[in-house]
Subunit: 216 residues, 2 copies
Amino acid sequence: MNPSSDSSPQRGRRYHHGELRAALIEASFDLLAESGLAAFSVAQVARRLGVSTAAPYRHFPDRDHLMAAVATQAAAELAEEFRQTAERTGEDPAERFAATAGAYVRFVGARGAGFNVIFAAGPRRLHDRALADAGRRLMNLLLELAQQATGQGPEASLTLVEQHVVAAHGYVTLYRDEFFARRHNGIDAVADLAVAESRTLLRGMRKAPAAGAGHS
Amino acid sequence: MNPSSDSSPQRGRRYHHGELRAALIEASFDLLAESGLAAFSVAQVARRLGVSTAAPYRHFPDRDHLMAAVATQAAAELAEEFRQTAERTGEDPAERFAATAGAYVRFVGARGAGFNVIFAAGPRRLHDRALADAGRRLMNLLLELAQQATGQGPEASLTLVEQHVVAAHGYVTLYRDEFFARRHNGIDAVADLAVAESRTLLRGMRKAPAAGAGHS
DNA sequence: GGGTCATGTAAGTGGGCTATCACTACGGTA
DNA sequence: TACCGTAGTGATAGCCCACTTACATGACCC
């Protein structure tokens, strides 16, 4: 009887997992994708890997440090996703920018982690340098794509990025809450809605580029 | 020693609270506003009222029924808020519609409950008639305002409502996650952003009214 | 004044969570 | 081959939660 056949671990690992740190982060993504941020727990992640609930604390001092590691990786993956999506989309800068909204929705659908995790309060309190840098790089990438789309400076483009991000994130969260249950089924349909919204935003902005928030 | 001076209850109530059901709903709003949906618990609500943790179960069979009552009231209050906001805003139907985005952000900031609560999975499983009706009325009101703003039929207007709602809700959630911490402080600034986004959406839609989600 | 019943309390059950502690298995190296 | 440090285990403390049960209170009605 090969021990690899009796339970969860692949390659017959028995006592030492070997790459538990990386496995914890990966399992965290799975848990987030399946159950959401509210249901996330260190114990669940450990159980999912078939390892004792104390094991994660060999690799992360506490829950927030694990979350920060997940968030940092999410930011990096998301940036790469945006880059590839823009590349794949073609030459039109407006379409390249809009396409990232769809990429965001699909990414969060598949990985469970988005801006809510990357900018979450817990990990943020740690002042984790790697996480802060990854978050900044992600936003800068979007800002760059937005500037190409608008042909305008960082100031006006930042407004567009915010609107874009907020809308995409709104679609994801309301999708998870089953707000769209009846009308649109499947993450791809919602991703298309987010892209459409981004296009609309850009059109509306071109029509009145000086529109800001400024009154009240 | 007057008993009214030793603890929380006003008017010297001792054993019977008298209007605990309504008080539980009201305290739930406070808790949601302060700590968010993830931190909501029946025990916290009870403690906040200075009442035993078993007391709520005299009025609600379980947690989800309390949440459903809160959600129903939130939907009704929100509808009233939208109506008053539109009224107060003036004659321009586009502005009347856009203004509801700001009202939504401010309402969720103050009361802690929005579409995430109204359409949450838990209460929805109860098939609560009052909640379902209140949610429908809320969406119909928005749809009506949107039709006046676009001058178009329900189909195209429904898309606008979705975009509008998603954006407003996105602003609220990312505001709570302190996404805007640096640039914009205060719920009013974020509310203005949501209004601006709604205006932009409407402009963009007028420019290309046939834009749907349709490709994938 | 006495009974009744809705509405409250105290105490407890069973469960999940974070995190710690003493201990153990194993891989690599002298 | 002996041993040592890394990376696991199991048990446990301390906390919070949802919900239940038996009992206490007091408002209202006769």
